[in-house]
Symmetry: D3
Subunit: 132 residues, 6 copies
């Protein structure tokens, strides 16, 4: 299995309004450093698992609607608790969608698996990975 992974980041506000979150129930925020890994079983004629330039672009596009936002005010997250692992899945879904829409070109069809990892601090991270 081959993989190419690219990194970007977002800076967001949100609350986690359930008792289990203790002091994080109130409005606070996070920088999420986001790693998106694209897995393929082979390389194309250019020696590529995936076009790393396009991969970087679609990650930025997918993150744009979240970056510098208060997630509590976004319709897409109404009634949801925007934990690190929930957001990893959300970004995963948007990336999978973009790949399905051909945003990675023909090469996107060769992607077998995605992993989206969100680093929330130097001491904690969460991710979601699945086959496409």
């Amino acid at each position: 299995m081959f993989a190419v992974e690219v990194r970007d980041h977002i800076m967001i506000a949100h609350s986690l309004p359930r008792p289990v979150f203790g002091p994080a129930q109130g409005l606070h925020g996070a920088t999420f450093v986001v790693d998106a890994a694209f897995f393929t079983t082979d390389l194309d004629d250019n020696g590529l698992a995936v076009d790393i330039g396009l991969a970087t672009e679609i990650l930025k596009e997918v993150l744009a609607p979240l970056n510098y936002q208060n997630l509590d005010t976004l319709d897409i997250f109404a009634g949801r608790v925007t934990t690190t692992e929930f957001l990893a899945k959300h970004i995963f879904d948007r990336l999978a969608e973009a790949i399905g829409n051909g945003r990675l070109g023909e090469g996107g069809k060769r992607i077998r698996k995605l992993r989206v990892m969100l680093h929330e601090s130097h001491a904690a991270r969460g991710w979601y990975e699945a086959e496409l």
Copy 2:
């Protein structure tokens, strides 16, 4: 697959008394920066793979009997060679036990896989991962 990973560290002395270890046969020591990753197939109603606060606590509890110790003097390691990968498995087993004992609450039952990674320097690390 979802995952949440938390980090802590221990500082221990030990010897690796077998010829294969060369200069590490004598008493020396290590800082192990420990990453524990908890994998689940779904999220609970709070949007959690695992309660990250509890996960951090049980990692600290499991590491406590090792931290600031000379592993050569601990009964639990009598006759064992406490390599990085051996210790990864030891910590894995203690975490699995704690989860089995309900230390992660109801949510602990949803954990499908654990991975325990020990970074022994900027240039080497070892880990153990398995399904629960």
Copy 3:
């Protein structure tokens, strides 16, 4: 010059309501990984520049009123723009105060310089350093 540096982090919401901040004018947030470095010209009888245990404790105490907060709602920041470098200075001042109050014990009197560095992402950081 000797130095000891310890790390902690905070997760906060804030807005930066001035045109120069572009998309960061609205409410968003950040994880700040905070490094506090304590500088001395000599070591005490225990071989210490500063008691690293106490240093870790006072950093945590100083960060506590900020952690998991929306900085826009804190009286202490009324009318201020809570940029990374501004917050570095704020934390520096609280640490200097705690040292002045004897929170680092007798050893605290030997501290000549402090540096407080806030990492806001994998690609940007800000800090404040000054002699005491």
Copy 4:
């Protein structure tokens, strides 16, 4: 599954002479920080997944013919596009060969999987992993 991972690096020149690479079509270069992970299902009598000293040595040996080279001039890469993921596979193949030749000793026979990861910057990496 156990794993031990060791790190080294190479500094190479190359061109990526296909239109898809845009500005990277011309001769440029890269530092690749290389992580090689060796996976086994059990530990030997010494508590080892793999002899970390030997693992470090064979990684260095396998990287030596590439280090400080212009990859465009190496016969082994004639007609090939030396992308990060292609090079990960190349290094994987040489490591697998070395293991097959007994360079990791008897213990090498217990290796079930290899992963070779090349970090090309703070924001991008590629890897190849497969069972042996």
Copy 5:
């Protein structure tokens, strides 16, 4: 003293054609992860040491003529040995020039010191710092 530091990177080919460089005398290459730190003695009315957005932009502009190049073929480096520390100084000079030309706006005049650090691998880096 306040500071703001931003990160970018370049991927270049070059040779270091002097006997002291041993195997690095031939054409090879490097990824340089570049940190540029801007130091001021105070903050402006917006709470800024320097506009981090503009700082990121001018670093990118200054790096652009080097990125994806074979430094051996650039007129500006004719007869020079493009070591890590030499390049740190080169980038420092271009940044200082850009600041002098007003590329950081009025705020640029408050910058007292610059530091340009080039990470060439996980184990080595070089930098140049000076007052402006």
Copy 6:
């Protein structure tokens, strides 16, 4: 001011037998990732602040008598408390000595300042720096 910094590491056992160290009074250990920075005011004819190959060699030589040792048993540390900052100074002194003895060649005479930083975990480090 120019600087070149190289990294190595040591794995040691020691005790810190004073009440202030709490649980670290007993025999335990540490990995110290060691960064040695060499500062000069100019570059030589080869574009070098310091020969990075030689710098790496003398750091390894200076660390060798400590690596894989129980520091409590070394005559040179009899009666001393081997804290992180104390060890930083010890390694600084040995490096300064080696430079004085010409181990960095003629170029060594141009070194104005040294800094030796020991990372003891992902969350703490200590260093010593001084002019030569």
